[in-house]
């Protein structure tokens, strides 16, 4: 998986590309841990994310929880496969999707 960061002042945009599963979830977790300092608004761009497993959902949930105390988190460009997972797991209800 490739994580691309784009920072505009307090707004961080992370573009995820590839598979977000048990193997790659720690990578995203690490990026979040090191880059969220001073960030109040987070956007996850999932246009190129082809798969998300429960381990990946866990990291997304963690970010959602962390950002909900600030200006929030937006998930955008969710494709059909990933949206299916969000639907089945109820994530669709708790995430701000665009």
């Amino acid at each position: 998986m490739v994580v691309t960061q784009k920072r505009e002042e307090k707004h961080l945009v992370l573009t995820l590309e590839g598979r977000l599963d048990t193997t790659t979830a720690p990578q995203l977790e690490e990026v979040l841990k090191s880059s969220l300092g001073g960030v109040t608004h987070l956007t996850l761009d999932l246009a190129k994310l082809v798969y998300v497993s429960s381990a990946g959902l866990r990291v997304i949930l963690g970010a959602q929880k962390q950002m909900s105390k600030l200006d929030g988190m937006v998930v955008k460009n969710v494709n059909e496969t990933v949206m299916d997972v969000f639907e089945v797991t109820g994530f669709k209800e708790i995430l701000t999707l665009e």
Partner: protein, 616 residues
Amino acid sequence: MRKTFQKWLFLFVVVAFIVTFCISFSIESRQAKGNAVGLIRLKMEDARKQIVVNRENIATVRSIVDAAALAKARAFAKIVALQPSVLKRGEELEDIRRRLDVDELHVSDERGILIADIPAEYIGYDMAASEQSAEFLAALHDPNFALVQEPRRKGISGEMFQYAGVARTGTPGIVQIGYHPKRLQAAVEVADIANLSAGFRIGKSGKIIVGEAGKIVSIDNPAFLGKSLKEYGFSDKQLRRGESEFVANLQGVRYLCLSSSYEGYKLIGILPLSEMYVGRNEMGLFLVVCNLILFAVVFALVSVLVQRVVIDGIYSVNRSLERITQGDLNERVEVKTNNEFVALSEGINSTVTALKEAIAEAAARIDAELEVARAIQRSSLPGAFSSFPGRDEFDVYATMGTAKEVGGDFYDFFLIGENRLAVVIADVSGKGIPASLFMMTTKTLLQNLTEAGASPERVFSEANKYLCENNEIGMFVTAFMGILELDTGRFTYVNAGHNPPLFRKAGGRYSWLKSPPGFVLGGMEGTRYRERELLFQAGDRLFLYTDGVTEALNLQEELFSDLRLEETLNADVAREMDVTTLLKHVQSEIDRFTDGADQADDITMLGLEYKGKVKG
């Protein structure tokens, strides 16, 4: 590294080259100058000697000529004394002059008046009348008088002419002869200082310049004869020096000069710098060429040697280390070009061997621990399916194929009292020991709450609350639970983010029991779960599973998928199978599909068939 090495080597070679060249150049320069000064000094010494020799020659010739002249004068005086008559006879006098080989003969009386002469026009001339002849008057009183005068220049030709005279014998008077001292003139001409320069070349184009009172009296180029030394290019300062060497720019050429004073002459030996340095320059060129070749060879040799002995070895070791780093612990380093590399290779090899052994050991230990964890996990699940002896209202069966890693799937079914059967299937996010502990907690929670009599939605709400409170690592679990009332067939279920199960009416086809799920357990505090109901009739079936089923991958990385699962369940061959056989069939279809590919996730399935209320 090779670049760095070559850079330094190159630098060293260049510096060595420059230093060597500078030292040689300086030594050669000094030597060239020393040689040149020596050469000039030698020539000047010769020139000085030549001046001395010339003067001595002249003196010798002069004394011979003087002696001869006096002898002739005395002989003539004797003839006049013996034969005074010759004075009267011009032919005899002329004959005597010829025999004496002189040009003039003069004889005076006791008063110094000439009485006989050749040429005859001087007869009657008073010798006191001119300074030159007056010198001889002393002979009138001194019978022993003898004088040879200094030669004088005479006439337009400037030829030398000389007079010698003695007192007359027996009577007062003067006998004088006049002649061209040809030998003396020749000797003087030879000894002329103007000829000195022509006799002494220094090297190829060096020369000696002679000055006298600031004027050039001898030089190779006649155009400068008589000109001043300053005009030629020497400065006052240079001319004022005593014997010393200096560099002067003369007529556009730079010369090394050595000046010295001698007998009123200023001798200056000069040699063009270009000629003085011609040897050094040739030597320098030779040195440059030789050094360039030598250093190029050294550079190439050392470079090649280092490349072969050190760098190739290091690259080879690095390549091996890279393969080792990438996980190939069977790689061996075999660089044997020299002892150091042999030691290094052996060191690396033994380290890798030790590492391999340590890893194998650790892996074995971890495997053993995981096996224990798996066993514990498995033993916590209901396994013996004869656990409901005598219950004919339902048939339930479940399987769990664990992946290599300890996963977080689990299933459960248990009776609540006599009339209710609970079924659970769940999947914890993540893997490993943490996931399996989280799973155990969840399973126990759900069972306890259910057995305490809570409704499914309340069970999930309570379990969620508890799991959220004690969840530092942010794990969550997707779960589906349903409770079947065995007498009525009423099935109450709740879903927390889990894959919806497939339901089949007796004799019908399986289809998904789709309903908006609640959020996962342990994900968000205060999540509300909504119960739904379904009425089972005899022969109706429910198939629960985790995503390990639909996301099983084959070697081409294709998913088993919802579609294949649906097709497998609805295939004709599966239609009459009981739930136990059905689950085994689905498993074998999955195995057939994956065809030996690694199983990434737990594969868990649970089948439930309602057989209807027992009659009687």
